[in-house]
C-alpha cells in the first residue's frame, strides 16, 4: 500500500521586531483570537555563565528578581500580576533566564510596567537573599534530594560528558555555594548580565501593534542603556573515547541509564542539527517508534524510554555544546550494558538499512502536531520567539519549524544515526538503592 503523506500545515503568526535606543530588542506577535496576552523578558545569561564557587547562582538570582524592584515592594509583583487575573513565573536555563506573565489583555500596560521596573533594578537585600536561599534549598529538596531519580539525567550526565566548569557543573547549586552567596554578588551579577542590551522583550496575543509599541517605548525607553557583555566561549571538543559512570540512588527502586552524544551547533549549523531532532523522535516517539518496539515490546529490557535534544529538553533554545539524549528505566534486575548495546545495534540498523516506508513521514506529522500545539498557548509564542530572537535574530522561525522538520530527509536521519557511536557516548547508570 503506498503511503499517503499528511500535508504539514504552518502557522502564520505575524512578527514585528524593533530595538529601543537602550539596546532592548522587542518582538511583537499579535493574535486576537482570544482576549489574552503573553509577556516574556529573556536575559542572555544562564547556568553556564555563573562563576565558579557560585553554583546555582543564576537560578538563585532569578528568584531575587521577584523580590521587589525600584517602585515595587516585596510581594508587589505577584499581587499585581495575579490581581490582574494573570499568572507568572520565571525559569533558568543553560543559556538564558526568562520571566513571564500570561494575562487578560487589559493588563498589557501593567505587565510592561512590572517588567521594566525590575529591569531597572531589583531590590537586593540581605533579608530577601537569605529568605530565597531557604526557598531554593526547599526547591532542590523537592526536585532532587527527596525523590528518586532526582536530577537524572539533566544534572548528573553533564559532568560525565563535559570537562569545563560552565558545561559540567550542577545548575541547581550546592547548599554551600548557595549559602555563601552575597548581596554584592547579586548586584554584580545584575550589573553585568541584566543589561538592556542583553535582553529581549516579547509580547504575544491580543495587542494592537501601534499601541503596544507606544507602551513599550513609554515603560522601557528610559531603562538605562547598558551593553550586552561578551559571551564567553563555552565550546568543548567532542569525546574521543566512551565515558561511562554510575551512582547509587538511595531512593530509586529500578535501574536507569542515560546516554548522550554531541550534536552539531544548533545555531550556526541549524540544517545539520535538525536531523538529530527528527532522529530522537523516530527512535522514541510512541509505540510505533524504533526503540520502543525493540526495547520495550520485543526485548522487554526497558520499562520506559525517552529521547530528546538538550539536557533540559530544549531543542530550539540552547546553544552549543549540547547533545542528543536517550534515557531508559529498566525492570528490576535489568542489564544496563545490554540496553546500551541494543541501542547501538538499532542505531546501526537505522544507519545501514534506512527507514521503513512511511516511518519518517508519520514521525514528521506527529512532530508538527507537537510543535503547533506548543504555539497555541499565547505565552508559548512569546517565550519561544523571545529566545529565537536572542539566540538567532529570527523569531519568525517559530512559524517555519513544522515545515523545516518535515523537509528533513531519510538520508539526513540515517547520517545522523551513523554518528551516534559508542565511542562518542557519555552515559550514566543509576544503581537502585531503594528499599523493597
Amino acid at each position: 500500500m503506498p503511503t499517503r503523506r499528511a500535508r504539514i500545515p504552518a502557522t502564520k503568526y505575524p512578527v514585528e521586531r524593533f530595538t529601543l535606543d537602550n539596546g532592548l530588542r522587542v518582538v511583537l506577535t499579535p493574535d486576537r483570537s482570544a482576549p489574552v496576552i503573553g509577556v516574556a523578558v529573556v536575559y542572555d545569561v544562564g547556568i553556564r555563565s555563573e562563576p565558579e564557587g557560585r553554583t546555582g547562582f543564576a537560578h538563585l538570582f532569578e528568584h531575587l528578581m521577584f523580590q521587589g524592584s525600584e517602585n515595587l515592594e516585596k510581594l508587589a509583583h505577584f499581587r499585581h500580576v495575579q490581581g490582574a487575573g494573570g499568572t507568572f513565573n520565571g525559569s533558568t536555563h543553560l543559556d538564558y533566564t526568562d520571566y513571564f506573565e500570561t494575562l487578560p489583555s487589559n493588563a498589557l500596560e501593567r505587565a510592561l510596567f512590572l517588567e521594566a521596573d525590575r529591569m531597572r533594578g531589583p531590590r537586593l537585600t540581605e533579608e530577601n537573599l537569605r529568605n530565597q536561599v531557604d526557598v531554593v534549598k526547599e526547591e532542590i529538596r523537592v526536585n532532587v534530594l527527596n525523590r528518586p531519580y532526582g536530577g537524572f539525567p539533566w544534572l548528573t550526565l553533564p559532568p560525565v560528558m563535559f570537562d569545563t566548569f560552565p558545561n559540567a557543573h550542577d545548575g541547581y547549586g550546592s547548599f554551600d555555594d548557595l549559602e555563601s552567596a552575597t548581596v554584592a554578588d547579586a548586584a554584580d551579577f545584575f550589573r553585568r548580565y541584566y543589561a538592556s542590551g542583553n535582553a529581549v522583550l516579547a509580547v504575544s496575543g491580543d495587542v494592537d501593534v501601534t499601541e503596544a509599541t507606544a507602551l513599550i517605548e513609554r515603560h522601557f525607553g528610559d531603562v538605562p542603556a547598558r551593553p550586552a557583555p561578551k559571551r564567553p566561549d563555552f565550546t568543548e571538543p567532542d569525546l574521543a573515547a566512551e565515558r561511562r559512570t554510575s551512582y547509587t540512588d538511595k531512593l530509586a527502586p529500578l535501574p536507569a541509564v542515560a546516554g548522550a552524544w554531541r550534536v552539531p551547533d544548533p545555531v550556526t549549523d541549524f540544517a545539520g542539527y535538525l536531523p538529530y531532532v527528527v532522529l530522537a523522535e523516530v527512535l522514541t516517539d510512541g509505540d510505533a517508534s524504533r526503540l520502543v518496539e525493540r526495547l520495550v515490546q520485543r526485548d522487554r529490557s526497558v520499562t520506559s524510554l525517552g529521547g530528546y535534544l538538550g539536557f533540559m529538553g530544549d531543542p530550539f533554545d540552547v546553544r552549543d555544546p549540547t547533545a542528543l539524549l536517550l534515557q531508559a528505566h529498566l525492570p528490576p534486575g535489568g542489564d544496563v550494558d545490554k540496553v546500551l548495546r541494543t541501542m547501538d545495534e538499532e542505531l546501526d540498523r537505522l544507519a545501514t538499512d534506512g527507514l521503513t516506508d512511511g516511518e519518517l513521514a508519520r514521525t514528521q506529522a506527529r512532530m508538527a502536531t507537537h510543535l503547533l500545539r506548543d504555539t497555541d498557548a499565547v505565552l508559548g509564542r512569546a517565550l519561544q520567539m523571545a529566545v529565537l530572537e536572542q539566540q538567532r535574530g529570527e523569531p519568525g522561525l517559530l512559524n517555519e519549524l513544522p515545515r523545516l522538520v518535515g523537509e528533513v530527509t531519510e538520508e539526513q536521519v540515517r547520517a545522523a544515526a551513523a554518528t551516534l557511536r559508542p565511542e562518542r557516548r557519555a552515559s550514566i547508570e543509576v544503581i537502585p538503592g531503594g528499599a523493597r
Binding site: A6, T11, A34, P35, V36, L75, F78, Q82, G83, A84, G85, G86, L103, P104, S105, N106, A107, R110, F113, G121, P122, L124, T125, E126, N131, Q132, V133, D134, V135, E138, E139, R141, V142, N146, R147, V183, A184, A187, Y194, D222, P224, A225, P253, L254, G286, D287, A288, E293, V296, Q297, T303, S304, P331, G358, R362, A365, T369, R373, D376, R436
Partner: protein, 459 residues
C-alpha cells in the same frame, strides 16, 4: 537595607528623567467572557458529542470521558494500560503508526470516576482519528503477550510512584479521608495486577466501555456541525449493553488526631490538609473558591506569603478544591524542611483559623476575584485547555455556559459571603491532617501542637 547598587549612575543620566516614584498603570476595561461557537448531539447509541470551535492552530483535541465508577481497581488500571494494545484489524504498533500518519496520538487514563481516552492531531486527520478510536472501542483485543508486557510495565511504574513522597502522602491522605469509599484506594497492588488476565479485560471492556453516558469532546479548528457529523459517522456503530454503576456519595471528613506517616531519612515533610468543600454547582462554591484563593490557592495568598516568602519553610505550597463525581474536597499541600515541620503546621493552622474567624479585607477579596475571573479567560484560550475544561464539566453534567454563571457568582460574592464560606469550610477544627516524614525528627515538633498518631509508611 535598600541596595540598588546595580543601577549605574551613568545610565540614569542618559535616561529620560522621571520625578518621584512611578505608579502602577491601571487596568484597561475588562473583556466580557465570550464563549466559543459549539454544537452538541446525542447519538442513537447514547454517546454525547460536543464540538467546540477554536481555529487558532490547525489541530483538533479529543477527549472521550466514559463513566467508570466502581470498576475493579486492578482490572481498571490494566484496561487503561492495554486498551490501545491492538484491535481485530490492527496491532498495537499499527494503531500507533496509523495515528501518527495524521499527526495523531491517543492515550488512556483511569481514575475512580472515569476512563478517559485523549489525544490531539492535525485537523485534517480528524476522520481518521475517529475511525481508529472507533476501532479501539469496538474491537480492542487485549492480546496476551502485550497484556503481559504492559502488566510488568505498570507494576514497575507503580513501584517508582511508591518511592515518591508526594505519591505516598497522597495515598495515606486518601485512605484517611475516604475510609471504605471507592476513592480510598486509587493505586492497585502489584500482586492484584499479576492476576489480571486478558479474558478478564475483554469482559470488563464489554461491561463498561460503552457509549451510554459517555461524552466525546472535540475542540479545535473545526466547524462544530462538521465535527459532530464526523463523530456520528465514525462512532454510531459503537454499541454495548453493559452497565453503569453509581458511586456512593463521599463520606464527610472525620477530624481526628494528626496522622504521621513515618518515612525514615526523609529530608522534607509532606504536609497534607483536607477540608470540606462543595461541588461546582453549590451556592457556596464561588465564595469557597475565593476563600481558598485567599488562604493558599494562589501565590499571592496568605499561606504562601507567610510560609514561603516570609519564613522560607517551603518552595511550592498550594491549596485546591478538587471536584470528583461523588464529592468535593479542599486539599492544601506543602513540602517543608524537616526541621521546621512543626512551625510550618503552626503557621498553617494560624492562617486557616484567622480566615475562619475574621473577615477578609476588601482589597484581598478583589485581588482574588480578579485572579479567579482572569484565569477563567486564560484557561479557555488554548484548544487543549478548552478541551479539558469542556470534558471535566461534561463529566459532571455541566456545559461550557456554566462558565458564565460561575463568573457571575464570582463577581457578586461579598466579604460576608467569603467570611461565611471560610468559617464553614476552612476552619482548622474541621481539618484532616496527614504528614509524611521522618517521624523520629518531626513527631516531637508535631506533638507539641496537636495529638498525633504515627504509622509506618505503606505503599
Amino acid at each position: 537595607m535598600r541596595a540598588p547598587q546595580s543601577r549605574t549612575k551613568k545610565g540614569k543620566v542618559t535616561a529620560t528623567a522621571q520625578a518621584g516614584p512611578r505608579s502602577l498603570p491601571p487596568l484597561g476595561p475588562t473583556r466580557k467572557l465570550k464563549l466559543p461557537k459549539q454544537g452538541e448531539r446525542t447519538l442513537g447509541n447514547g454517546l454525547t458529542v460536543i464540538a467546540v470551535r477554536r481555529p487558532a492552530v490547525p489541530l483538533v483535541e479529543l477527549r472521550l470521558w466514559m463513566p467508570f465508577g466502581r470498576a475493579p481497581l486492578a482490572r481498571g488500571a490494566m484496561l487503561a494500560q492495554t486498551i490501545l494494545s491492538g484491535t481485530q484489524t490492527h496491532s498495537a504498533t499499527q494503531v500507533a503508526a496509523e495515528l501518527q500518519k495524521v499527526g495523531g496520538g491517543l492515550s488512556a487514563g483511569v481514575d475512580p470516576d472515569r476512563l478517559m481516552l485523549s489525544g490531539a492531531g492535525l485537523v485534517t486527520g480528524l476522520d481518521r482519528m475517529l475511525e481508529i478510536l472507533a476501532d479501539v472501542l469496538t474491537g480492542a483485543t487485549y492480546p496476551p503477550d502485550w497484556v503481559g508486557t504492559e502488566r510488568d510495565r505498570l507494576i514497575d511504574r507503580i513501584q517508582v510512584a511508591q518511592s515518591q513522597p508526594a505519591h505516598l502522602a497522597r495515598t495515606a491522605l486518601l485512605k484517611r479521608i475516604y475510609g471504605k469509599h471507592p476513592y480510598a484506594v486509587q493505586t492497585p497492588e502489584p500482586e492484584q495486577l499479576r492476576s489480571v488476565r486478558p479474558g478478564v479485560l475483554r469482559t470488563l471492556h464489554a461491561q463498561r466501555v460503552h457509549p451510554a453516558d459517555a461524552v466525546l469532546v472535540l475542540v479545535g479548528d473545526v466547524q462544530p456541525e462538521r465535527a459532530l457529523d464526523a463523530a456520528e459517522q465514525a462512532l454510531s456503530g459503537w454499541n454495548g449493553t453493559g452497565h453503569t454503576a453509581d458511586l456512593p456519595p463521599a463520606p464527610p471528613l472525620q477530624p481526628g488526631p494528626l496522622l504521621l506517616v513515618d518515612r525514615p531519612g526523609s529530608v522534607q515533610s509532606s504536609l497534607r490538609i483536607a477540608l470540606p468543600a462543595v461541588p461546582r454547582t453549590h451556592p457556596d462554591h464561588a465564595a469557597l473558591q475565593l476563600a481558598n484563593l485567599i488562604f493558599g490557592g494562589y501565590f499571592s495568598s496568605r499561606w504562601v506569603e507567610n510560609i514561603r516568602e516570609d519564613k522560607g519553610y517551603t518552595y511550592g505550597p498550594h491549596s485546591l478544591v478538587e471536584h470528583s463525581v461523588a464529592g468535593s474536597v479542599l486539599v492544601a499541600a506543602a513540602e517543608v524542611a524537616t526541621e521546621v515541620t512543626g512551625p510550618a503546621l503552626l503557621e498553617t493552622t494560624y492562617e486557616l483559623g484567622r480566615l475562619a474567624s475574621l473577615p477578609v479585607r476588601a482589597d484581598e477579596l478583589e485581588q482574588a476575584r480578579q485572579y479567579a475571573l482572569g484565569t477563567l479567560q486564560l484557561g479557555m484560550s488554548t484548544q487543549a485547555g478548552l478541551a479539558s475544561l469542556t470534558s471535566a464539566y461534561a463529566g459532571n453534567g455541566l456545559r461550557l455556559d456554566f462558565l458564565a454563571e460561575h463568573a457571575a457568582r464570582l463577581a457578586k460574592a461579598t466579604v460576608t459571603d467569603v467570611a461565611e464560606a471560610a468559617a464553614r469550610y476552612l476552619a482548622p477544627a474541621r481539618a484532616v491532617t496527614v504528614v509524611l516524614g521522618d517521624a523520629e525528627r518531626i513527631a516531637p515538633q508535631l506533638a507539641a501542637l496537636t495529638p498525633v498518631v504515627t504509622e509506618p509508611v505503606q505503599p
